[in-house]
Symmetry: C2
Subunit: 233 residues, 2 copies
Amino acid sequence: MKRIAIMGTGSVGQAYASKFITLGYEVMLGTRNVPEKRADTAKDVYGNPSFSEWSSVNKDVKLGTFQEVALFGEIILNATLGAKSIAALKMADVKNLNGKILIDVANPLDFSKGMPPSLLPELSNINSLGEEIQRTFPDVRVVKTLNTMWNGLMVNPAMLNGGDHTTFICGNSSEAKEYVKEILKSFGWPEKNILDLGDISSARGTEMYLPLWLRILGATGNGAFNIKIVSMK
Amino acid sequence: MKRIAIMGTGSVGQAYASKFITLGYEVMLGTRNVPEKRADTAKDVYGNPSFSEWSSVNKDVKLGTFQEVALFGEIILNATLGAKSIAALKMADVKNLNGKILIDVANPLDFSKGMPPSLLPELSNINSLGEEIQRTFPDVRVVKTLNTMWNGLMVNPAMLNGGDHTTFICGNSSEAKEYVKEILKSFGWPEKNILDLGDISSARGTEMYLPLWLRILGATGNGAFNIKIVSMK
């Protein structure tokens, strides 16, 4: 049984935890505070349950500190808030991360300059969160993927258009990208819809798409959408 | 016959000029220098003809300075380089622009920090070229559209997937957006594929998509693609 460490206990982390459990993984969910002190969250406006409610129906998911779960995981998934990802991964401790594949699904959203959020200037345009993680932890194999859509779709692509829409994958290690592609396929992503954009610097592109995603959400009021790349045959 | 002024004589301006001529408009193409001095351009790597070659088969398109063409046009289309758009429109003179609809199809690309280009920091994230034009010329009705794809597709959407892919429209004036939607429909855009994102601040989203567009181009080597929004029914 593969062991996966999911950093971040929000609705994104929860969606991945539930999915990986159904796929037969051992899952630990990492939180900043000692798990006993994790504040409960209210049911949110999107219909996500409170954390305690979610936990009560996901008893197989163990909770731990960032450090405990990083030590446990053979694969790491970053689902923390983009603005806090580097700090969270430092708390996990580089020695618990080195040599592992780190799947980064976070976005460097900046909520300090009004809504919809913009991107953190220091983590966009000529940088990205994906690159910053890779630069801070050079011995980790960072793979950026799935950050361009609502978390429900990330792990259940077939719920929309029979899975016929696009996700991207970026990273410096071809081997790590192949490994993560197999995970995406196990979620239901058809291989033809997983577009490899190249090295981790291409995370700039997928993260800078977020402002458009947020405007489409604002205009349509519906987060259950994705883009499909349509090309000349 | 409607008169349209197209600012910018590059391949984007040329594509619009040719299209508007076939649709029965009177077209003037605006250039920085006096037209007699416009430097010819070589046939480019994308297979676009040289400017003189293009002109020789598009004799109905008149050439003029930015100021001359803005005076002539009932509608203005900005197809200049994003970094130079504000300066070009100032050369056109505010009194020749006021009260008119200005269709902005440009992107604030920054070629100074390596390839693929990034976005100009002062015209992205918490600003955009569309907003900057609107702010600089408050009595112009700016409509941002079609800046998310290769110019061949902008004016001939039906060449790809029967026209079934998405374009966006942003602007403060609903009336101006309705007017521009009719132009888009005359290009072949199905109304259901023209997504109104709201006011001109939503141009941030469509312009910040460019880095993803450029990475997709880099990965696939093919600019003849677009995105289609796929939503839950």
